[in-house]
Symmetry: C2
């Protein structure tokens, strides 16, 4: 005896449609009938099959969340996005289907996009040229990016204004008297692949350095502590005049701390460090990092909101949200002092 709507109908002595209407309330059902049906449902613990419902209604009440491949560890900012998207979706009674997708021919991504398993998609870690955006547009699936491509107007997105943020970091350091500043970017692969935040950080850095007439060097660094350490050590050796670093590479930061400690450079006494990071994370470093705090919660919730709008009406014009939070002063930046 399968536990479906027909079984409930039979046991309540009504037709299937009446059960459906009793449950959805889309047509009036006599109070007496409704009670009888409800009693049977409660007794058997019946719940409608979500697949059948989705098939008939043409929507799944599920959104896809495309994250970087799980194999590579997510940064705290990325985790913040995931958490806030999941949270916002739950508040809207939407389920979240996770798709870790990196390469081109990604089975998980294809399943999500082409199988009509989701009503819409939130896309993370977008490249300047991103095939996934093209695929989603082809498939006619509503989507919102956390990040955007080279042609921002062609899609709906929310993003962080890394250009402004890194520029702010440089100005902050310049205000403290630093003249020789390095930008530690993310991995060379990402930069080569046209990762937006890296490119925008470059622009912001170059611009601010020029505006203040500073000496700026830029290096790429893989996204882990090990790389952060060796990268910083090379940087210190090659540029003895350097007194400060700005970075958007969260993952490398612990390694940078260690390289500085190992070189007997006190932070912020001898050397200043600042960057773009998640607040919780910046606060928990030791000493706490002066940084432009990324409001992942806000951004993720906004992405879901925009997605819900697009799902409701795919014809709505594209909207964008670019945020640039101010720098929170903590304990890693101080007045410039030439290195001995």
């Amino acid at each position: 005896m399968p536990l479906n709507i027909g079984e409930i109908a039979k046991r309540s002595g009504v037709s299937r449609s009446t059960v459906s209407y009793a449950l959805s309330g889309k047509r009036p059902v006599a109070e007496e009938t409704r009670r009888r049906i409800q009693a049977v449902i409660d007794e058997l613990g019946y719940r409608p099959n979500a697949m059948a419902k989705a098939l008939k209604e043409g929507r799944t009440r599920t959104i896809g969340l495309v994250i970087p491949p799980a194999s590579q560890r997510l940064t705290d900012v990325q985790l913040g996005f995931v958490a806030s998207v999941v949270d916002a979706a739950a508040r809207a009674d939407l389920d979240v289907l996770l798709s870790p997708s990196g390469g081109e021919h990604d089975r998980s991504f294809e399943r999500v996009v082409t199988g009509r398993r989701v009503d819409g998609v939130v896309l993370m870690e977008i490249r300047l040229e991103d095939d996934r955006v093209t695929r989603l547009r082809q498939a006619g699936l509503p989507f919102v990016g956390i990040g955007h491509t080279r042609r921002p107007e062609e899609m709906t997105w929310v993003d962080i204004d890394y250009e402004t943020l890194i520029a702010r970091c440089v100005h902050h350091l310049a205000d403290l008297g630093h003249r020789h500043i390095a930008l530690v970017n993310r991995s060379a692969e990402l930069v080569a692949a046209g990762y937006g935040p890296s490119h925008r950080a470059q622009r912001g850095f170059t611009r601010a350095v020029a505006e203040r007439g500073l000496d700026g060097v830029e290096v790429c660094c893989a996204d882990d502590a090990q790389a952060g350490r060796s990268c910083t050590e090379r940087l210190l050796a090659a540029h003895p005049e350097l007194t400060a670093i700005a970075t958007l590479n969260e993952a490398a930061m612990p390694g940078m701390y260690r390289a500085l400690a190992h070189a007997r450079l006190a932070v912020p006494g001898d050397f200043s460090l600042t960057g773009v990071a998640a607040r919780r994370w910046a606060e928990n470093l030791h000493p706490p990092l002066t940084s432009a705090d990324i409001l992942a919660d806000e951004l993720g919730a906004h992405a879901v909101e925009l997605l819900i709008q697009r799902i409701a009406d795919p014809a709505v014009p594209h909207r964008h949200l670019l945020v640039a939070p101010p720098i929170s002063l903590r304990e890693t930046t101080g007045p410039a002092r030439p290195r001995g």
Copy 2:
């Protein structure tokens, strides 16, 4: 013109069933026919509707992953579990539906469990008495726990042997000559709610302390750096003879570092610190934490493997996996030296 199997059939001049067989290969289809169908499919970019398929086949090729509510930040160990479950599922061509679920009447959890949206569930953060386990059993949905209840034999699970691990930490400290050791547990709420790892850590601590004739104190501490700091400060003040801490509270650890630094206690010179943590995380602390490294990757992959088996055959006997990795010596434990 809807893009469904009927449309493909019409355009290739065959019946719907033939298209289905051409796609699945479950019955022979003439090579010529197959090519004609494939050509139409390629031209239109047709992909079968996953909902319809799931409805007919009675399985969704999706597993549910029940995580702690997204609002509370996940620890690195928990994140490791999530990442490895997602990763293992992707390798098995399964999708993952995320359900952040905390309280009793949780809509997201109920949807996942009763809607037949998933073939099985991986359950994280299990309490000694856990209603969700009861619900899943009632619903007859295959599930695997990362963690287990008071009656371990009643379900399939993988877990970390916190009892042995904390005992190992104590023995390690005792070997180094420490006589006065504290256990920093997780939050008082969790302990009160019957959170398994906390209870087992207690047991391991009590046992090891007794075996080595040590002086041991145990405190609870909320899962964040702020609490870790104040908790450690209170501990140091109340127990001047203390020379080492063992903990399973990852989140509090940065605060503990800071409290020790603030008290001018060098680690490991003046004070030793050890615990249970994710490897990546322990390595990135400064100095790197001597810890029993939790192999989240392995455990998550195992959970998925066990779940796949249970889905294939729900009658298979319950299996369990309890792991206790060895302590990795890093730079936070050293010989005991009485505090000045």
